[in-house]
């Protein structure tokens, strides 16, 4: 059952994309419903991954290993482990919500839009389930094309600039990664295993590669992933992409796309190159800390709500990177949690921004004020999203952030508490910029006549926000099930890295 659920989760979106293409272009409603139907089907299928999943087993599960290009030993190898499963579920959950959020705003070229969104889901799910470097790369690049069109066609005023910037930034990274993938395959060949793209083989080869080569491979992968995360100073594409993308595009971007980078860091950098990770952990963590503080400070001075949320992502993802390069159980576990939690709370924030924008067609904070009076229900949802993002205890954001900070504090790799001390200020700043924004938008006097008659949430918007809000509360009160899912897989990766550290100091 698990294997068919995995196949369904991966391929139903692709089937949906093809199905949508065959719908007549005048039948916009049919296209919307078909797309939503397929994405809900994929979500339901993804839930069937859970019952049989054995979280104490650290190797990948629901494996499919189908030979594809024997001369390169590239195969259709998919499966999930405790780290990728939550992300697969997150992707499957976010997509129907994003599609629902597009029903009203997207009016031009509807058919193409939904086909591209589903194609995007196919690519993202593929990245999380691939256990083959070649396949991973194909999915990784597959994401580029639909996202580029989604920003470029349905985006805001400067959408073309943002789309091209997004494309080129990502391509720079991924071409480096392509080289590294080939070079890594050759390392396996020279080690006597034969040229391969099999990640399991490569995980054995990786740590045996000498430092002189390993550091280059490490950076080739790392740069590609860090651009995607994005880590300061590689983050400049993100605010542009977010601001110009349609609401659903931002939801996907913040909810899932950014996690591709951090997932890659755990899977490839930590998993394949432990020595190099050990050596460069301090440098990358330092950049992460700079990103946390810088992102928070820049978010504070934004006048555009969406840009504010975009910069908050730079700050929040910094915690994830910091956790990963703490290279201990708490840190990496915290990073995984923070990935999921950020994937719940930030899409919510973007959805709320979208709700406001739909009504007023402006994102300037100063155009709002006292919205709570006219939209009380919306205010509740917005508050949940905002507090989850701040990291208020009792909501989901707290646990992950706390664990990453704890991990960094205890980390022998980083070796100093200063990383934690400085980045903890990011938590305070987050409270400052989010609460301040909330106060200016939602409270105060509603003295702008245009804000006097805003509609409160409609049914569609409830369907988008309520599931995420419930999840945020549930994961805040009861993070245990999610932690159990990934615990052992995280421990295995950390342990593998630690063993290497003992052997080769």
């Amino acid at each position: 059952m698990g294997v068919s659920a995995l196949l369904a989760t991966l391929f139903v979106p692709l089937a949906g994309a093809i199905a949508v293409m065959f719908i007549h272009r005048d039948q916009a409603v049919a296209a919307k419903r078909t797309a939503l139907g397929f994405s809900i089907f994929a979500f339901v299928a993804s839930l069937f991954l859970l019952p049989q999943f054995d979280s104490s087993n650290v190797s990948m599960q629901y494996v499919i290993d189908q030979a594809w290009i024997p001369t390169l030993d590239a195969g259709f190898r998919i499966g999930v482990d405790g780290i990728s499963l939550p992300l697969v579920l997150l992707t499957a959950l976010i997509m129907p919500i994003a599609l629902l959020a597009s029903f009203d705003p997207i009016t031009k070229n509807v058919k193409a839009y939904y086909a591209l969104m589903l194609l995007l889901q196919f690519g993202m799910t593929g990245v999380f389930v691939s256990w083959d470097t070649f396949l991973f790369y194909i999915f990784w690049e597959l994401i580029l094309i639909p996202m580029y069109f989604i920003i470029g066609i349905w985006g805001g005023k400067d959408r073309i600039y943002a789309a091209v910037k997004f494309f080129l930034y990502t391509l720079v990274g991924s071409l480096l990664m392509l080289l590294a993938i080939i070079w890594l395959g050759l390392q396996a060949k020279w080690a006597g295993v034969g040229f391969t793209a099999d990640l399991i083989e490569l995980q054995k080869i990786g740590p045996t590669i000498g430092m002189d080569v390993q550091q280059w491979l490490f950076w080739a992968f790392a740069i590609s992933f860090l651009i995607k995360v994005p880590l300061f100073p590689l983050h400049t594409w993100l605010p542009d992409a977010h601001v110009q993308a349609p609401t659903a595009g931002s939801v996907i971007l913040a909810g899932v796309l950014l996690k591709l980078g951090t997932y890659g860091l755990i899977r490839f950098n930590l998993g394949l190159f432990p020595q190099a990770s050990e050596r460069f952990a301090t440098l990358i963590s330092a950049l992460a800390v700079v990103g946390i503080v810088y992102g928070a400070l820049v978010a504070m001075v934004q006048t555009d709500i969406k840009k504010l949320v975009a910069y908050s992502s730079v700050s929040h993802l910094g915690f994830v990177v910091l956790g990963i390069f703490s290279m201990n159980n708490e840190g990496v576990q915290g990073a995984v949690l923070q990935m999921i939690n950020h994937g719940i709370s930030t899409p919510m924030l973007f959805l709320c921004v979208g709700v406001l924008y739909e009504r007023r067609h402006t994102r300037e904070i100063s155009d709002y004020g006292g919205v709570t009076k006219v939209m009380p229900r919306f205010a509740v949802m917005f508050a949940v999203a905002m507090f989850a993002s701040v990291g208020l205890p009792g909501l989901n954001g707290f646990v992950g952030e706390f664990l990453t900070l704890l991990g960094a504090f205890k980390s022998t790799t980083l070796g100093t508490p200063w990383f934690t001390i400085v980045s903890a200020s990011g938590v305070i700043f987050a409270a400052v910029y989010l609460l301040w924004m909330f106060q200016r938008v939602m409270f105060g006097t509603n003295d702008n006549p245009e804000n006097h008659h805003l509609r409160d949430l409609n049914v569609k918007e409830y369907w988008q926000l309520v599931p995420l809000a419930l999840l945020a509360v549930w994961l805040g009160v009861q993070p245990r099930p999610l932690m159990m899912l990934s615990e052992q897989s995280v421990a295995a990766i950390v342990k593998a890295a630690a063993i290497v550290k003992v052997i080769q100091p």
Partner: protein, 484 residues
Amino acid sequence: MNMEILGSLPLVVIWLALGAVGVAIQAFVRDNTRLVFGYYIFTLALTAVLAMMHAGYKATAFSGMVTVGGYANYFDVLFCGAGIMSMLAARPYLQREGIELDEFYTLLVSAVAGMMLIAHSANLISLFVGVELMSISFYVMTGFLRTNIRSIEGALKYFLLGAFASGFLVYGMSLIYGATGSLGYGEIHAAIASGNVAYPKLLAIGCVMMAVALGFKVAAFPFHQWAPDVYEGAPSVVTAFMSTAGKAAAFSAFVSIFMSIMPQGAKLTPQLQDILAMMAAITMLVGNITAVAQTNVKRMLAYSSVAHAGYLVMGIVANSDNGHSAIVFYVTSYVFMQLGAFVVVGLLERGNEDNLQISDYAGLAKREPVLAFIMSVFMFSLAGIPPMAGFFGKYLLFVSVIESHLWLTLVAVLSSLISAYFYLGLVVKMYFSESEGHHQPVQSGIAGITLAITTAASIVLGLFTSQMLALFATWWPTWWKVLG
């Protein structure tokens, strides 16, 4: 003996069809364009089928002048396929431009015959005959828009420079003959591999001259200058044909000749590899960087085709079975994506060089959604973005050469990045910009068949990578045994 006769059937059929019957039809039947067109389509299809049927053979024929089976037959099918696709696209184009003369089809098929001879040749003489037959057909086809000054200019330029390159080719051949005492690939390979060379210096000069001549034919730096002018001046369908099938043919010669003159372990081999590596690196960079600056779609695609020649030369540099397989795979995917792209250009082109600027493509997605989609597939494939066919070819080339020339792979990656910029630029124009002015709707007619085939191939070819590589892998181990 039986194998020899049956195996050489594709060659014989196309020559007979062309020489005897085709010319006869033209001479004795009036108002015969449709007949000629249908007849040549049939001929090419028949030749392709025969080539497929006899692909399993491994032999030489005509006293060792040509090989039959395997590699050569694969290219037969590719050339005939490209020929059919080009003819289907050419008919509506020529009718629209009012220059549909049946000689066009005759020239096209004679070029295919020349290409087939190139792929089949096992001897420098037959190679030369093939190259000349192909090139002369191309010269005439380039100038087919008789009243258009650019077309004439392109033809003249192509002819003069091409004749010059042929001179290099013959001179190189004669020096190799002088050094090794033979014109057959097998004997040349054996002589160089065993070090049994009378005048090593002459051999070195001869080999470099071959590189120059073939570099010209594939449009590699610094012998690429003709390509933009010729590709721009020639009718779009001619460009579609000669920049794809012509390049594939030149690379089939490149592979077989450099396998012969660069045996593993020979003294000259590393030096030749380094020369070719330099050539490949500069070709990629020059092609892609110049393409960025173009405003004319045809010129942009012409420079990109220069860059693709650079990628392909990497496979020669690798000088291994994997490298050669990668070349064959890449030219196959290249034929589809580039041919398709030029066909789209031809469909949008109007009269005297209208609608050829990149700015004319603005808002194409609104006016012609299907064409815009198809063109984007080609652009993404040419840029080497997975899962398009172009990516798989590029990947194979990178893998083949990374071990011996890491720096070359780095250059290739860098230039791929540059190329993404202009391929993407066209997609940006088509999808993200608004169109200006009035545009007539495009009637694709039977060119639609070509577009359907090329689009489908550009998307799905990658799925068949393993089968194709398995097929190619059967050729190389017996290569020298067959050639004797």
